[in-house]
């Protein structure tokens, strides 16, 4: 699912290159990230047949990718996905309701207000009101500085600075991970399956 204010125009070349045969929506206003509290891409949400979330992960690349001295992603995600597809709720790699609910955090007031500002910014951007869009994009980033989605979407409109902006913020993370570490087991106890 392409999460991109640029919409179909920027998403389509990627979908074409990927020869996408799956459902390929375009999320111009980051609706899915807002609903599920996502802060980075790629993120993956596994939803079972009853509509229940059984896993939610960040950095869901198909494998580990190297970019100079940096690496992104893990070789673990595809095996996790395969295990769930084969074993369903019996998979030891998916979470039960209680464990999953614990991971789905409530939003702080600042995050919720940032969400409202980002929605307003996206609306103005898509309406061609650049100045108003910038005002609210800045406010969203100030209120929720941990959302890489907010920063990177905004930076994408000044591509000559985007790389530098990203690297500076990335460096400022220090020991904090860029992607929330992916759990390789569903639970430390035996109650991982419903």
């Amino acid at each position: 699912m392409a999460q991109d204010t640029g919409g179909q125009a920027v998403a389509e070349p990627f979908y074409e290159a990927a020869n996408a045969t799956y459902s390929a929506p375009v999320d111009e206003r980051h609706v899915v990230s807002s609903l599920f509290g996502l802060v980075n891409v790629p993120s993956g949400i596994m939803v079972d047949e009853e509509g229940r979330i059984v896993r939610l992960d960040e950095g869901t690349y198909t494998r580990e990718y190297k970019a100079g001295e940096l690496s992104f992603g893990t070789n673990d995600y595809v095996p996790i996905l395969r295990d769930w597809l084969e074993n369903g709720e019996e998979s030891e790699l998916v979470f039960d309701v209680a464990d999953m609910a614990d991971q789905l955090a409530e939003l702080s007031d600042a995050e919720a207000r940032g969400d409202a500002h980002f929605r307003l910014a996206s609306y103005f951007k898509l309406s061609g009101r650049e100045e108003l869009a910038q005002t609210h994009w800045s406010e969203a980033q100030r209120l929720n500085p941990d959302s890489w989605n907010y920063h990177r979407q905004d930076w994408s409109f000044t591509p000559q600075e985007a790389g530098r902006n990203w690297f500076e913020k990335f460096q400022s993370l220090g020991d904090k991970p860029y992607y929330k570490p992916m759990s390789e087991t569903a639970s430390s106890d035996e109650g991982s399956s419903p």
Partner: protein, 184 residues
């Protein structure tokens, strides 16, 4: 000073003017307190919530709050006005007789809900611009807590690359992987 000048008039006409002033003042107070919502406003106003961009059909003229009709309330956030309050499924928020803030009024033969006052009541963050008039609402905590308590994925609708509307609920009965990515 003007009103005190009127009060100094002691003849019948002066008395009448004085009471007229009081009457006008009362009329103003009745119509502005505890709310300042006045007549119906048909200028363009937009409400944003979740995946929705709702062009409101009518509002009440008010310099601070956003008043919407029952129909627009439902279009914005699915809440339905019932005798027990504004309700979404089994969740009902009382809106009549709130001692802190007036949330429900009758104007022009229909009910109007103070949507921004309702947001304050349920702890929903919102921001607005006046020109153009757009209100953007964040998550309603009591609604979002359904996600954080039951882990049931909230439904959403997006257009796919063929211009068709895709809903998560279209895939109920199948395993679904929602994978977000971006060109940036």
């Amino acid at each position: 000073m003007r009103s005190s000048t009127k009060w100094r008039l002691s003849d019948r006409a002066g008395g009448w003017l004085g009471w007229a002033s009081v009457g006008m003042l009362l009329a103003v107070c009745l119509s502005t307190s505890p709310l300042s919502a006045q007549g119906v406003d048909e200028s363009e106003k937009i409400a944003l919530y979740l995946d929705r961009v709702v062009a409101l059909e009518r509002t009440l003229a008010d310099p601070t709050d956003l008043w919407v009709t029952k129909a627009d309330l439902e279009r914005v956030n699915d809440f339905v006005l019932k005798p027990e309050g504004a309700c979404l499924g089994s969740l009902c928020i009382p809106v009549a007789g709130d001692s802190r803030e007036t949330l429900l009024v009758e104007r022009g033969g229909e009910s109007w809900l103070n949507l921004t006052g309702f947001a304050r009541k349920v702890g929903q963050e919102f921001v607005a611009e006046s020109d153009p008039a757009v209100w953007s609402f964040g998550p309603i905590p009591a609604v979002r807590s359904a996600l954080t308590k039951t882990a049931i994925a909230p439904d959403f609708a997006l257009e796919n690359r063929d211009g068709e509307t895709v809903r998560l609920s279209d895939h109920r009965g199948k395993k679904v992987l929602i994978l977000t990515w971006a060109s940036w």
